[in-house]
């Protein structure tokens, strides 16, 4: 759901960029406090993996495709603050090198996927994990958190499109949420799969 240039109005782009910038400044401060230089190579590897995985579009119903966002996957490994930075690095490279997501829309894409997606996903992950018995809580939390991260990021994108006057808000919201409700299932499955794999081969990575 990388928004290209031309879809968002200048005020919406500017406001999103400002919020993203503030959120990232806070993330840098939070991460710095407990960083942990050992976290840096892991963040680099995770960013490289999220980038690679995002290239892998999987088909979803009705002639569309989706790909992993990776916010929750990254957050369960390095925490949501560092995850914001990891996803932002991926988005910047995608924008500059691959024309995937517009330059003027970069702030909005960071806001939707790196900030809102990661944090909302993390919130649902943590809530579900806490509410359910320990045995299934972690896995259920990861799946549900991953699903919400995609659907809420898509809602934020729809809101920005609506506020920009590019599409009628309500119609854009319904369309984005219904398509991404399906894509979110893919996000949940991939996140759970990669997490379980890592837990088996590299349990020390997952605290």
């Amino acid at each position: 759901m990388h928004i290209p240039d031309g879809f968002l109005s200048i005020p919406v782009s500017a406001a999103s960029a400002a919020v993203s910038f503030g959120a990232l400044a806070l993330a840098v401060k939070k991460v710095q406090k407990k960083l942990q230089e050992r976290l840096v190579p892991l963040m680099g590897v995770l960013a490289a993996f999220i980038f690679a995985a995002q290239m892998f579009n999987f088909p979803v119903a009705g002639g569309t495709s989706g790909h992993l966002l990776g916010g929750v996957l990254t957050a369960v490994i390095v925490g949501p603050w560092a995850a914001m930075i990891v996803l932002t690095c991926v988005l910047i490279v995608q924008c500059l090198l691959f024309q995937d997501g517009g330059l003027l829309a970069l702030g909005a894409n960071i806001l939707n996927m790196a900030v809102i997606g990661t944090w909302c996903g993390w919130f649902f992950y943590a809530a579900v994990k806490k509410a359910l018995p320990q045995k299934i809580g972690g896995a259920a939390g990861i799946f549900i958190g991953a699903w919400f991260s995609v659907v809420i990021a898509a809602s934020a994108a729809a809101l920005e499109l609506g506020l920009s006057g590019t599409a009628p808000l309500k119609a854009a919201l319904i369309a984005m949420v219904s398509v991404h409700a399906v894509i979110g299932v893919g996000e949940g499955i991939i996140t759970l799969f990669v997490f379980s794999f890592l837990k088996r081969v590299k349990p020390e990575l997952i605290s």
Partner: protein
């Protein structure tokens, strides 16, 4: 992270890129599909010219190899970029800093 596990992890990324170049769906993604359906896809513009537009290597045309090469460059750029950003923000001084 040990040097060995970094290398192994990056090899996994390379594998994912190659598999993606071969198998990834070329259907429009959710947003593109909606833009087409709601009729605003043509308002998309490009502000900057990217060196590897749409995950292709311009000198190699389109296809699996072109996308795989673009993706490998992307993996390298993302890894190095994130490590550099991480180092800067973790407060570590640059290695190349000259001694006065």
């Amino acid at each position: 992270m040990s040097r060995k596990s970094i290398i192994v992890s990056l090899l996994v990324c390379v594998l994912v890129v190659v598999l993606a170049a071969i198998f990834a769906s070329s259907h429009p993604d959710g947003l593109e599909w909606i833009a087409g359906k709601m009729g605003f896809e043509n308002s998309a513009t490009t502000t900057i010219k990217s060196p590897l537009p749409d995950y292709t290597t311009p000198t190699m045309g389109e296809g699996v190899r072109s996308t795989a090469v673009a993706g490998l460059l992307g993996v390298a750029a993302v890894f190095l970029g994130t490590v550099i950003v991480g180092r800067i923000f973790s407060g570590r001084k640059g290695r190349g800093k000259s001694v006065e």
